[in-house]
Point group: C2
Chain length 215, copies 2
DNA sequence: TATTGTGAAAGGGTTCACAGCG
DNA sequence: CGCTGTGAACCCTTTCACAATA
């Protein structure tokens, strides 16, 4: 398929649609219209149709979309037609929270290795895994055929860990450390910064009373 | 001050600038140019200047910006000239991770209350706090003058908790539960969905080989 | 008839390029 | 001379509106 550039926000909306389609299927719905999906997500029906149209024609005019068919198509578009092998670097509280977060497994992400550099944590049993020494990262990542890395270390360690992950063949990184990482262009990177999320809230609250205009 | 509509991405860039300015100040730099800041964040200098220009003129032509002055200005723009009182609803692993995440306190966020509905967790000591019964949420939020709520509950409980927070006077909510919340328009809401972040990675990896074009 | 799929129009964000100024 | 601040140009995303069609 020939793709135009798909905006980041469009990809995130596709994730939303997938969640809505899961709920609809669980609720027994057989079809949805773009209007229904839009209502579930606070968007417009034109937006829903445009987002989907980049990848094909999945609906029937006059009828809408088949819930199970569209669910499967959207999952495939997002790369979720298969499972993904993920590792977690950093076995602190946030690492533990992510490890136990059921949403990853439900969406097709299998955490197959965990690493830390703290002797107190190395060797600990986490479910069916053991916490590995980060010094063994390259070997374990290769043995376990890890594809995605999640960095949950302090900021200081993040670049070093990222380099090790890339060296061991990981293709994409989700970085929770508040540090800008330098990576080769072929590696996909996404940053999540929890303090920054709160800052967008305080920005909004702080400027609430001011006149917002377009000049 | 008269503000235009500031885009979400511009606000996030301001958070980045603040982090860079912290680093520069810690490193002893006295001034920065928009070029320097742009290089630290992988953006363009025009973007940096445009972002700042929405809020005033903070630099000197020919010289750049004073690091401490700009740091303070950007912090003020983001609403971080004061501290904020935050509560956490959900004392599970993710709640614990956020509670212990030093980045919040460093940025001016004080977690002053924690809630859960599980008798096993209620009453547990977390640092200087105790985990409250979520049934006491309205009273405690008022007593503690909580301004921001963070929802870290399972999806099922999120709407109910959000309603309680709003009823008790919270002004903004950061929601980690994968559920679309309905809130009054005057409440600021931000969603963080961890599975969705991974999905943007798998989308990119899945479509990597395909020709991305503009028609 | 109801709803999709999509060109065209509108809107908004980013980049350009240079005037202004220390 | 160097770097900021900014209107104008450009580009990308969203919305509109309607032809196509089950």
């Amino acid at each position: 398929m020939l793709l135009h550039r798909i905006s980041d926000s469009a990809v995130r909306r596709l994730s939303h649609y997938l969640r809505f389609l899961d709920e609809l299927e669980a609720g027994g719905s057989r079809t949805v219209s773009s209007d229904d999906l839009a209502a579930m997500g606070g968007m417009t029906s034109a937006q829903v149709r445009k987002d989907l149209s980049h990848f094909g024609s999945f609906g029937k005019r006059g009828l809408g979309y088949s819930v199970p068919v569209l669910r499967e198509q959207v999952a495939a578009i997002l790369g979720l037609a298969r499972r993904w092998r993920v590792c977690l670097v950093g076995a602190g509280k946030l690492g533990a929270a992510l490890y136990h977060y059921g949403g990853f497994h439900a969406r097709g992400f299998d955490i197959v290795a965990v690493f830390d550099n703290d002797p107190v944590r190395i060797g600990l049993r986490w479910g069916s895994l053991r916490v590995n020494d980060v010094g063994d990262l390259a070997r374990v990542v290769r043995e376990e055929r890890v594809e995605l890395g999640i960095i949950v270390t302090p900021a200081d360690a993040a670049q070093e860990v990222a380099d090790a992950l890339v060296g061991a063949g990981v293709e994409a990184i989700l970085n929770f450390a508040p540090r800008k990482l330098s990576l080769p262009g072929e590696i996909t990177l996404r940053d999540v910064n929890l303090a920054m999320e709160l800052e967008t809230l305080t920005f909004a609250l702080t400027h609430r009373g001011e006149i917002l205009t377009t000049r």
